[in-house]
């Protein structure tokens, strides 16, 4: 085999042809040589034939053969020349011929070789271009993104399999179409504008996220880049189209946006009712669902109720999605019921497989897939949110995870809403209490200034807010602090919590005085320091007055009790005294009558004893009489018979009777006013009064004592005075002389007999007449009893003295 042969030449025929081609020039040269030698023809004649052979060989790009053929031809020329002519004469011609032969062969060979080289180069270039093309094609095909070339008018020039697959069309089919044909209608104009701009070289690159129409009416979100291919023929610019399927990214973005939207709604909404439509809507729009339903667990936990819903505008889902349908789902029933039961999100790619009755309704309105996730609060499923769509959705783990997260966040939100609602309700309650409380409530700052006063307080104190703030409240605080000082409590502004209440006196706007009960409570801020004071003010005037009255009543009751006790004691004492008096009297009566009865005594003894018996019996009789009188007078059963009475006459009568007593050793002196008008009274009773006083005076007077009786008119009354120079009444006794059995027992007076009822009866009689009785006395100097009796009406002077 000869070098330089192309491997592409045929093996056997080419080899045979080569052999023929290589041998043929030698055969030709040998034939010419033989003829020339044989005929003796000059070499000059054979030369053109040799030149022809060398020329022919030189046309082939075979240097070695050319050298061999050229050598052979040169040798033949030399031999012919030498053999036929004298070598010296024709040798120069032969050499010239050989040189021409060499030059021609070399030149032709070079030309041929150059042509060959040029051809080889061209051929190599073609092969190279072919392989670059292939690599580009492979690259296009191998690219993970959709790639294609379009002409300036948008016609596909080239398109890779991925892009074709992405679009769901055959590549050949697409090559007849235009780029804008595969762009979704919404983005089409946008892309056409871009192509126009690129075509005019106004821009070199355009990029945007657009939707492409996929097979089966689907949309594929892609990131589309169109770039001018720079080194192409300027008259026919090509554009590189790069389409990256971003549906996965879009889905992730959708989920993220849905979650962000959920959080945004949660942050801005105040209540679940307010948040629900926006939340459900953001799930649908961000995740590509058509309808959302929120089911809540009923309080008795028997079933789920449809609480709130959302559906895409313009759909036929309105009726289906109406919460007023009052749908309920049992535990474990259908997708929603199962999610409730398990507490785990679940999906149904195709509702055709759902056996729950709800599903048939869903299928009727064209819903084909669903996903449901629990709303969880404090570990308990409190509701389920279901998303439904008209398309068959592929629900992957990421979506389930995202929805489960959202479910927990919504649950927390609902719980916060409930808490907030409870708090608002409690605030409202407090506000209502504050506003409508019958108790006055004031909020006071750390300086004691009134921040707020409820209407009850303003009403109570009859002030408007300004007057209350500027005047009434500071007054009240001062009053409170004074009361606190007295009670040894902290002042109001010390803000001691749970301070005891204090009662203060305060004037209202209209000048009424009230008793107010003030109770201060300090309200701490979040750090526990007192932030402000709440002062409750109650009008306790009525209570205080009632208390005062009650205290008064209690006092008087206590007094009455004391009186009753005293009466009881007096009664016991009375009985004891009376029985003592009776028994003392009876001692003589019984003893002496026993002596007389037993006999053996002298007649004058009998007389004397009879006298003792009579005296004691008389004493007993008087005692009984006095007691009965007193009882009648005290119980109001004794009446006095009023008539005109001359008091002077009564006094004279008594003096006459007293003086006539055998044992009387005193002197009487009368100082009676002769002009004394007559009085209105019961003469017998008045005699009883005067004689009682006179007898007392006599009893307590020493022998030879003087008893003075005087009368005079004074202010419509007759004033009667009976003055003795007797023992006198000790100061501690003088207030009691008119009480029953209050006989002066001290000193010599004890020896003086008496029933102890006389002065009590006297006082009763005087008072029954409308008069008064009193006594002046000094121990050792005697006593003066004075009493008044009203003058008869026609004599009464205008300056009437009452009681």
């Amino acid at each position: 085999m000869l070098p330089g042969q192309s491997p592409r030449l045929g093996v056997v025929p080419i080899r045979t042809r080569g052999l023929v081609r290589r041998i043929t020039p030698f055969v030709g040269i040998a034939a010419v040589f033989a003829v020339a030698v044989a005929t003796g023809a000059p070499a000059l004649l054979a030369f053109p034939l040799f030149l022809l052979a060398v020329l022919t060989v030189s046309l082939f790009d075979d240097t070695r053969q050319l050298l061999a053929v050229g050598g052979a031809a040169s040798l033949a020329i030399l031999i012919i020349t030498v053999t036929q002519l004298g070598p010296a004469s024709n040798l120069a011609t032969a050499l010239f011929e050989i040189a021409v032969l060499g030059i021609v062969a070399t030149s032709v060979h070079e030309v041929v070789r150059q042509a060959k080289l040029a051809e080889e180069n061209a051929e190599r270039k073609a092969v190279e271009i072919e392989s670059i093309d292939e690599r580009l094609r492979l690259t296009l095909e191998a690219a993970l993104i959709g790639l294609g070339l379009v002409s300036a008018d948008g016609h596909w020039v080239q398109i890779n399999e991925r892009l074709a697959g992405m679009l769901g069309h055959d590549r050949d089919e697409l090559l007849h179409a235009n780029l804008s044909n595969v762009v979704a209608e919404t983005d089409r104009q946008h892309v056409e504008d871009a192509l126009a701009q690129l075509g005019r070289r106004e821009i070199m690159r355009w990029e945007s996220d657009v939707q492409l129409d996929g097979a089966a009416e689907t949309h594929i979100p892609v990131s589309l880049v169109i770039a001018a291919v720079s080194d192409h023929h300027p008259s026919e610019p090509l554009l590189l189209v790069q389409a990256t399927d971003i549906s996965a990214r879009k889905r992730i973005d959708g989920m993220r946006e849905a979650l962000v939207a959920v959080r945004q709604v949660i942050v801005t909404a105040n209540s679940w009712d307010q948040a629900a439509p926006a939340l459900l809507g953001s799930f649908c729009t961000n995740l590509g669902w058509d309808l959302a339903q929120h089911w809540t667990v009923e309080a008795d936990r028997h079933d789920l109720r449809l609480q709130s819903t959302w559906h895409r505008e313009g759909s036929n889902l309105e009726d289906f999605n109406d919460p007023a349908r009052n749908l309920s789902i049992e535990l474990g029933g259908g997708l929603v019921g199962r999610v409730w039961q398990s507490g785990v999100a679940a999906a149904m790619d195709d509702l055709a497989g759902n056996d729950y009755e709800q599903a048939s309704a869903e299928r009727r309105v064209g819903l084909r897939s669903a996903v449901a996730f629990p709303v969880i609060s404090a570990g308990t499923t409190i509701g389920v949110i279901e998303l439904l769509g008209g398309q068959v959705h592929h629900v992957d783990d990421e979506l389930i995870t995202m929805l489960s997260t959202a479910g927990v966040e919504i649950g927390q939100f609902i719980q916060r809403c409930d808490t907030a609602q409870a708090l608002r309700r409690s605030e409202a309650d407090h506000r209502a209490i504050y506003e409508r409380s019958p108790i006055g409530i004031a909020r006071v700052n750390g300086e004691g200034e009134l921040l707020e006063a409820n209407s009850a307080l303003l009403h109570m104190l009859e002030h408007d807010v300004d007057a209350m703030r500027s005047q009434a409240w500071p007054d009240l605080v001062r009053a409170y602090d004074q009361a606190a000082g007295r009670a040894r409590l902290a002042p109001l502004l010390a803000g001691i919590p749970d301070q005891r209440s204090l009662q203060v006196r305060a004037a209202t706007g209209s000048g009424r005085w009230l008793w107010l009960q003030m109770t201060a409570t300090s309200i701490p801020d979040s750090s526990g320091r007192p932030e402000h004071l709440l002062v409750m003010v109650e009008d306790v005037t009525t209570v205080r007055e009632t208390q005062d009255k009650l205290a008064e009543a209690l006092d008087s009751q206590r007094g009455a009790n004391a009186t009753l006790e005293k009466l009881d004691r007096t009664k016991t004492e009375f009985l004891s005294i009376v029985s003592h008096e009776f028994r003392t009297a009876l001692t003589g009566i019984q003893g002496f009558s026993e002596l007389i009865r037993d006999g053996g005594i002298e007649p004058d003894e009998v007389r004397a004893y009879g006298g003792y018996i009579f005296n004691d019996a008389d004493r007993v009789n008087r005692l009984i009489g006095d007691m009965l009188d007193l009882d009648r007078m005290e119980s109001g059963r004794m009446s006095i018979r009023l008539a005109d009475v001359d008091i002077n006459d009564v006094l004279s009568d008594v003096i006459t009777r007293a003086s006539s007593g055998s044992a009387v050793l005193v002197d009487f002196k009368s100082d009676l006013d002769p002009r004394l008008p007559i009085v209105t009274g019961d003469r017998d009773r008045l005699v009883q009064v005067v004689s009682n006083l006179v007898n007392n005076a006599v009893k307590y007077s020493p022998d030879g004592g003087l008893i003075t009786l005087s009368t005079r008119a004074e202010g419509g009354y007759a004033l009667v005075s009976i003055t003795d120079s007797g023992l006198g009444i000790p100061p501690e006794e003088i207030g009691h002389v008119f009480e029953r059995f209050r006989r002066v027992r001290s000193g010599a007076a004890q020896a003086i007999p008496g029933t102890g009822l006389g002065l009590t009866i006297v006082k009763q009689i005087v008072e029954m007449h409308g008069g008064k009785i009193w006594v002046e006395s000094a121990v050792g100097h005697g006593s003066a009893f004075h009493f008044t009796i009203p003058l008869a009406a026609e004599h009464a002077t205008p300056q009437h003295i009452n009681g």
């Binding site: 029985s579 003893g591 002596l595």
Partner: protein, 127 residues
């Protein structure tokens, strides 16, 4: 009666009728009788005359019978004292015995009772 002749009874009473009655009855029974009209007098006579028995009223002016008895007993614990009082409720009797009385005689009394109580107390030998 014979034994009574040497015995002396002090009658302390502010009531003249009672004084006369007691003197008449006790003298008839053979006792010597001393009369005191109040408590102070009774104490003086008791301590001075040393009677065998004292018949003591309670309600007397000045010093009452119980005070007089206390004073006498303080000096002469053996002195026999009968409280003769018109205070004759049951509680009174207890009160008088508790105050140191040797016996209590309620007024009004039977004359026989007066003599009997004096006899009984004078029969006992004094300490």
């Amino acid at each position: 009666m014979d034994g009574a002749g040497s015995s002396m009874v002090l009658v302390a009473d502010d009531n003249e009728v009672a004084q006369r009655l007691c003197r008449r009855v006790l003298e008839k029974a053979g006792y010597g009788v001393l009369i005191a009209a109040d408590g102070l007098q009774a104490v003086d006579l008791a301590l001075a005359q040393n009677p065998n028995v004292i018949l003591m009223d309670v309600a007397m002016p000045g010093m009452d019978g119980l005070e007089a008895m206390r004073r006498i007993k303080a000096e002469r614990p053996e002195m026999r004292i009968v409280i003769a009082s018109a205070h004759s409720m049951a509680s009174d009797r207890e009160r008088f015995l508790a105050a140191g009385a040797d016996d209590v005689l309620s007024k009004p009394f039977r004359l026989g009772d007066l003599v009997a109580v004096v006899q009984r107390l004078t029969a006992k030998p004094s300490a």
